[in-house]
Assembly symmetry: C2
Homo-oligomer: 412 residues x 2
Amino acid sequence: MLNEIGKRAKDAAAKLAVTSTEDKNRILQAMADALRENRKKILEANSEDIENGRKNGMADTLIDRLMLNDERIEGMAQGIEGVISLPDPVGRVLWETERPNGLKIQRVSVPLGVIGIIYEARPNVTSDAAALAVKAGNAAILRGGKEAFCSNACITDIMRSAVQNAGFNPDIIDLVRDTSRESATAMMKMNKYIDVLIPRGSASLINAVVENSTVPVIETGVGNCHIYIDRDADIDMAANIVFNAKTQRISVCNTAESLLIHKDIAELALIAVKARLDEKGVTLYGDEICREICPDIEKATEDDWAREYLDYKMSVKIVSSLDEAMEHIRKYSSGHSESIITENIDAAEKFLSGVDSAAVYHNASTRFTDGGEFGFGAEIGISTQKLHARGPLGLPQLNSFKYKIYGNGQIR
Amino acid sequence: MLNEIGKRAKDAAAKLAVTSTEDKNRILQAMADALRENRKKILEANSEDIENGRKNGMADTLIDRLMLNDERIEGMAQGIEGVISLPDPVGRVLWETERPNGLKIQRVSVPLGVIGIIYEARPNVTSDAAALAVKAGNAAILRGGKEAFCSNACITDIMRSAVQNAGFNPDIIDLVRDTSRESATAMMKMNKYIDVLIPRGSASLINAVVENSTVPVIETGVGNCHIYIDRDADIDMAANIVFNAKTQRISVCNTAESLLIHKDIAELALIAVKARLDEKGVTLYGDEICREICPDIEKATEDDWAREYLDYKMSVKIVSSLDEAMEHIRKYSSGHSESIITENIDAAEKFLSGVDSAAVYHNASTRFTDGGEFGFGAEIGISTQKLHARGPLGLPQLNSFKYKIYGNGQIR
């Protein structure tokens, strides 16, 4: 069954790869319209999921993530329309040359082919991911979590009908109708039909995909983000940025989880930052020096340095130099986003060059690592690996390239 | 032991990533000089490998690939000097923007980190791969075949001493001193220390790495390359190109393995092509129509369409349309290189757009898919996957990127 979906997606992707921008936008508009028109049907399917969730004792916060309403469905439709307005990434000449033998070589952007997306609770990912994949010329094989199965199936069916009614092959989008662990594992071995797998969700989901997939993976999301307050920091700015990066939205991957402070301003900075974090009841886990300065800071264990709390919690450590801060980040960071707060340009440039993470900031909050904030319009996740794409995955990152070579009989 | 090499490479890579172009070139020159100075030592180690090979009944062609001499060692040194002359790929601003909130965002090329290279017989890969990795700012962990172990170990030791004598950390290059299958498998799981694995060698080696590696892989090399002679082809040009693509060097991945001919010119084209291929004694495996035209063509089986012969053999099939040719290629190609021979520009553009391979040619030999021929100067392999890099892997493909974001206190 899964192979059948794969085969049909591969066939559909070959056609979609050479489909014009206008036609892809027509497909997307048809999808958006259909979601609006079938609002009631989606809400019915969603209420089934909610009911099942309640029956199975799902936590209220998860129920909230799962729940759709008129506004959220309108948001999904508008999300697709947002993708329509983005430039088509396919067919750009990325580089060209003419060789002494007369061969003209062009490197041209092309779709990746078939993108598999393995995700968890939120049903809006079904339409968001499908729209981005299709605009970039790819077929999408979606495999959502069992909690949202009725919603995802309904949304997928509506989108597939819309694509077909618009005169195109519906197999550019499909949902795996089996939410067992086996179906996810099987997708990870479908090298013949899937060109790249993107896992979206918890660290354990992402690790399972990285461990088991023979299909190339774009790893997304885990963020143990650091802020380093340098000796030459503006302390008010530092407190402001830490407060924002830690508390503006605690459940996301670009939230700061760990704070490093230069010893020469440890006392002033820590007291200032803690005063702000106290407003939101953030618990700090610190080393001994921190606890001498503020005795109500909890004692940090080795584990705290590597933790992505996703909570009103933060680790804090005093370092004796910029080098020590960079060394600590190198050891514990997940390679997502890190920021240095300093008025010293040389220190900033050393940090930005030397820290090996997807996004490195000078005097700004880590919360900006986001496709929208970077001006990409939309994203399918944040890559924390170095191969292919790093940071927010916008439309251009959902493309590969190929070489077109024009000759007139050249041989070697 | 392997983890120790990994850890040291990771540490060394962090420093190398921020090393200047001048210093990297000094390292490379020291390596080249040392290979020349230690010619005798290398030849001694190599003769041990040759002796072992002979004792184990190694075929003469393999002995030849393994054997070093003065000229080949000079070639290795010159190879490194060739890399010195290439531009440094690190630190290029690939894209930049200023956001309405004043954040300045730059996408900047950075090294991948630690590159693992698993390869087979030829000892020159040891210096070639190390030089490319280092110029692109990466540490290299090399794991060559057991046949070349003494040569590889000697070359690596010489390069490491040269790096150290030049005042840099020798751990930017190391060789795994264990050629068991287990050491290769262990490398494939070293996600903590290796950022990307590049297998170079046989299809079975590459498949083993793709199947077992949890470290991201750049798949290289297998080439079932097609040439399609269109209805509107110049038959002389077609025969010339097929002859070159099939016979100029039979053992390499960009050699043509399969020929497709439009039915409307099947007889003329097949006879012309076969006359040229007969000069080199190429055996053709064809479908029924081919065998009616030339009865001495062998009967092709289904397996022939997918085979990479790497020999004086070629499969040939008559197709009734450009679409059928493209469909056949889609089904059987390894995604390496394909060429259309035609005077019809529309047919050429349809083929170049619609065929999903790393390099697609109009009126030229597939043999041009090569870093040198593309003007990249040198390559570490030819990628047949779509993620990250496709086609010849030059220095820019041995880089990732990161985002540097400059603010003045921005929060969300």
